[in-house]
């Protein structure tokens, strides 16, 4: 097995003895640009003001069929979540240990599955909703950024049919480069095993390119934003 490593690396080294022409007839003397540092310049533009960023995020949410709920206070978020739970007749919900998600789940007064290290996958599968926190919301794409650490593991945000995200107003970042910068600042050197950009509820267009929500993951994605 180790020899295959040497064989492949050897073939690569051999192949790279000839230089390939530079892309786009650029001057080889110019330093190469990298996507990591130059992306922001060319990606869709995001305005400076916080209000217009929220407006963009709200617009993206509509396009993506994400439900965005702006709440006045944590207790308002509880009220709104109770309404959703009643309307969908939830019997059981799931959450993770972090304060905001756990408190919100507790306020529903329903049987709750907590994704502790010993949780049962089948029990999680039977839940009507999964409540998680997140790392950031991305205005440019309407995405929720979460990790296995901020979002209660890998399965909580994808297995139950309704994913509820509880986010703070100050968690909105303008664009993807900002989201990656934040990831580096938060986790650099101690990475979680999953980083996920979640952009709307699960979907497929495999049958005649007609949009269907809830292919394998959640059919609904609701983002509750508290101050």
């Amino acid at each position: 097995m180790n020899t295959e490593r040497e064989n492949i690396l050897g073939r690569i080294g051999e192949a790279l003895r000839l230089t390939a022409p530079q892309p786009g007839h650029r001057d080889p003397a110019e330093p190469l640009r990298t996507a990591a540092t130059a992306a922001r310049e060319w990606l869709p533009v995001v305005e400076e003001q916080t209000e217009s960023r929220w407006a963009l995020f709200a617009r993206k949410s509509v396009e993506l069929k994400t439900t965005l709920v702006l709440c006045d206070s944590p207790s308002d978020a509880t009220t709104k979540l109770l309404e959703i739970g009643r309307a969908e007749n939830w019997q059981r919900v799931a959450c993770h240990g972090k304060a905001a998600a756990a408190n919100l789940a507790a306020s529903l007064g329903l049987p709750t599955v907590n994704t502790t290290p010993s949780y049962n996958m089948a029990e999680l599968e039977s839940c009507d909703a999964g409540i998680t926190e997140c790392d950031a919301l991305v205005a440019q794409t309407g995405s929720v950024l979460l990790t296995s650490r901020s979002g209660g593991g890998r399965a909580l945000s994808v297995l139950p049919p309704h994913h509820i995200v509880i986010a703070r107003r100050d968690q909105l970042v303008p664009d993807l480069p900002a989201a990656y910068a934040q990831l580096h600042a938060t986790y650099g050197g101690r990475w979680p095993s999953l980083i996920a950009f979640i952009t709307g509820p699960s979907r497929t267009g495999d049958i005649e390119r007609i949009l269907v929500l809830g292919a394998h993951g959640p059919k609904k994605l609701t983002i509750l934003v508290v101050p």
Binding site: A196, T199, R209, G214
Partner: protein, 467 residues
């Protein structure tokens, strides 16, 4: 390997499908929807052309220092408990996978969309060995039930109608007839949920390998890859070595470009970066994660600096969607894992020039593929270079002789003049044999008219002109 030769299979299927109007209409509808959703997303970029250039420069750096970045990936991935394997070819990859399944006493495998596994014909092997293998991507699942490979490497079952899918489900799953795409999707969702809960091994591919952090990135819409990476206790990822990007933040550009060019979305629903098996402070995820780096002759393409940029490909499928040939002959005619222009460029390198050189002729060289490519691969010039390389590698035969004779005649004015005269005299007789076996120009005249010859040559006209 497979029974008919690639060329005869291609000719047979392309002839049949290009005359199939229902098939063509279905393709046109799907591609029309793709164009309609892609245009606004591309337009939303501050500057799409510059974004392409930066993406190409980043990939150029990655591929031209591939050994450095692969070692960096291996080091960083291993440090977090990921096991990295290297496979030079299909046999080695299959051996590694089967050994892992045996070691863990696994019986069932759930797969998210993995094009590399089509390359190594994994499903057929595992089924033969008695394992249960289930595709979880809806389109791939449908194709698996049909016993067919994916029709398009992004839209696996775009050639099927909902009625055909309904009949397929009725036949295999015993479900009632329905023509509602949502109901059909929910049937698959229910069936596959069961499979997820019981699967021993989750099998994925990757869209990107991140050298800096030892992660892989998976782009999808359905959530099946996320479930595949969350539920089973062992996860195996089979990845082509060319998938490298140097830095994690490079994805800030590649993820939206892949979504825009691939499906016409600003970002696909789930973009997940995996950096190891379940970590000590985490509550779920696989206990073991194995990443298999697959060469399978990619280094042959790497060794050709002229066409090396074909390895920049991020498999968005845009070149298929705009290709006038693909739009008429469809995906299966190619007979390859990767269809369309990119498939025609890379397949001869991966599977043999002489067997697959005909694909480079299945192009009008219109350049639509090159223009649409998000990482600026010079696809249509590569197709032209393929033709040149194939001839340079194997000269001769009847075609070579004909060209020699042609060159000889063109260099002898007397012979040339005699022949054009004879051509003019015999031309009226041609219509008696046009398109028949006696016709030397049959390949052309079977379906087309020959252009008429002018009444006199330019030379004669010049000599005979008055004044």
């Amino acid at each position: 390997m497979s029974s008919p030769l690639p060329l005869s299979q291609f000719k047979r299927d392309a002839t049949r499908l290009s005359a199939d109007l229902t098939h063509r209409e279905r393709l046109q509808t799907a591609m029309g929807k793709y164009q309609a959703s892609r245009q606004p997303q591309q337009a939303a970029f501050h500057d799409w052309q510059q974004a392409r250039q930066v993406a190409a420069e980043t990939k150029w750096d990655a591929l031209n220092h591939l050994d450095v970045y692969l070692k960096e990936f291996e080091k960083n991935a291993t440090a977090r408990g990921t096991r990295v394997h290297w496979a030079s070819n299909s046999e080695q990859a299959r051996e590694i996978i089967v050994d892992l399944l045996k070691k863990h006493g696994a019986k069932s495998v759930i797969k998210s969309k993995v094009m590399t596994s089509e390359e190594i014909h994994l499903n057929a092997l595992l089924e033969k060995l008695g394992y249960s293998v289930v595709e979880s991507d809806l389109g791939e699942y449908i194709q698996q039930l049909r016993g067919e490979g994916p029709y398009h490497f992004v839209f696996p079952c775009m050639h099927l109608s909902r009625a055909e899918i309904s009949d397929l489900f009725t036949e295999h799953l015993g479900t009632a007839t329905t023509h509602d795409p949502e109901e059909l999707t929910m049937i698959a969702r229910r069936v596959l949920r069961e499979k997820y809960i019981t699967a021993d091994v989750g099998f994925t591919g990757a869209n990107f390998i991140v050298a800096e952090t030892g992660m892989i990135s998976i782009t999808e819409n359905e959530g099946n890859a996320r479930l595949t990476a969350a539920l089973p206790r062992v996860m195996i990822s089979l990845v082509g070595i060319e998938k490298v990007v140097p830095r994690l933040a490079d994805l800030a550009l590649f993820l939206p470009m892949l979504a825009t060019a691939g499906t016409g979305q600003p970002l696909t629903c789930y973009n997940s970066m995996y950096g190891g098996p379940r970590q000590p402070d985490e509550c779920d995820g696989p206990e073991e994660w194995h990443v298999i780096l697959l060469d399978n002759h990619r280094t042959r393409l790497l060794a050709d600096p002229e066409q090396r940029d074909a390895l920049h490909c991020i498999r968005c499928g845009a070149c298929l969607n705009v290709c006038p040939i693909f739009k008429n002959i469809g995906g299966h005619s190619y007979g390859t894992t990767y269809q369309g222009p990119i498939g025609a460029v890379i397949t001869p390198h991966l599977r043999g020039v002489q067997d697959w050189k005909h694909l480079s002729s299945a192009s009008s060289l219109c350049g639509a593929c090159t223009e649409t490519c998000p990482v600026k691969i010079d696809l249509h010039h590569h197709l032209l270079q393929q033709r040149r390389n194939a001839v340079a590698q194997k000269r001769g035969g009847l075609e070579g002789l004909l060209w020699k004779a042609f060159a000889f005649c063109m260099n002898q004015p007397v012979i040339y003049r005699t022949m054009t005269k004879m051509g003019r005299w015999t031309r009226p007789l041609h219509r008696w044999i046009q398109g028949s076996w006696l016709d030397p120009a049959r390949a052309w005249t079977r379906t087309r008219e020959l252009p008429p010859l002018p009444a006199e040559t330019f030379k004669d006209f010049w000599r005979n002109r008055k004044g």
